[in-house]
Symmetry: C2
Subunit: 171 residues, 2 copies
């Protein structure tokens, strides 16, 4: 059967047709679209942070800590969507850079609470501006209504994927 590359309706396509379509048209695949977009967000952010001598890897943790201070590494991993062993390394780096400090939780000695130093806290105002501006650049010329739909869709896809990851015992 020939593969139609145009406006075929997914719900009426059979299996081979769907595979063919996504195979030949990455722009139809959310995996592709999301990855490409992410790479570019990340690169731009990276370039901006470099001018402040902040490693991109630290950014995501700072972002969490500015909202809630004194949290476990587990919590940071969940919020940043980064594996726990990665978080260990990153937090060590942040401690060495004087951004955060760590102490064992008195009531549960398995936990180590991570807290901002005054220096870490002081970066918020300086750095958040970049995040805001990059978001503004990215969304330029797009209707607020469509942005809102997309936020919902991205959140829902994340949920769907998380559920599947758990189901398959990944992470």
């Amino acid at each position: 059967m020939p593969v139609r590359l145009d406006s075929a309706n997914p719900s009426t396509m059979d299996e081979d047709e769907v595979i063919g379509k996504i195979a030949r048209m990455p722009e139809k695949s959310f995996g592709y679209l999301v990855r490409r977009c992410h790479r570019r967000f990340d690169r731009l952010l990276n370039a901006r942070l470099a001018t402040h001598d902040i490693k991109t890897g630290f950014w995501y943790y700072l972002r969490v800590l500015w909202i809630r201070d004194q949290v476990t590494q587990k919590y940071l991993s969940d919020m940043t969507n980064v594996a726990e062993n990665t978080t260990v390394t990153m937090i060590e780096g942040m401690v060495n850079s004087g951004l955060v400090q760590r102490e064992v939780d008195a009531t549960d000695k398995r936990k180590r609470l991570v807290g901002l130093t005054p220096y870490g806290r002081s970066l918020e105002n300086k750095l958040m501006g970049h995040a805001v501006e990059i978001n503004r650049i990215a969304t330029r010329g797009i209707k607020e209504e469509d942005l809102e739909v997309s936020r919902r869709v991205l959140a829902r896809m994340s949920e769907n994927l998380q559920q599947e990851l758990r189901r398959e015992g990944v992470g």
Copy 2:
């Protein structure tokens, strides 16, 4: 001035308000939403590919080569959104794994054309099914109409960011 965390309209928010809002509500930030979504796509794909002994790093290149064979490393970098030096390393790995081969372009000796081996080509059917299924899982329960809006938005954001990256001389 107090920051309203509810349904403020961005177009009427002043600077501090926008920063405060995005700072405290990462779910409003596309940088955050896209990254989280990407991480989960990537992890799930990774878990699937591991069962076929294929490194995730190779996947994106295979994906391009299945559509168009015998292309330059530059082309591969552009299509995969990966820096050229990364592509060098990856293609070397793929050559060693017997997935592709390389030859200098006769008409332009700067170029090295990368082409699939029969083995590399033979993986397409086996592996594309995973990509399709993961997309299906991710988009479960979302209206096709909203998906289409989101595809457009993601593509447009990628364009906007690309333009800015060029403007700032990044990449």
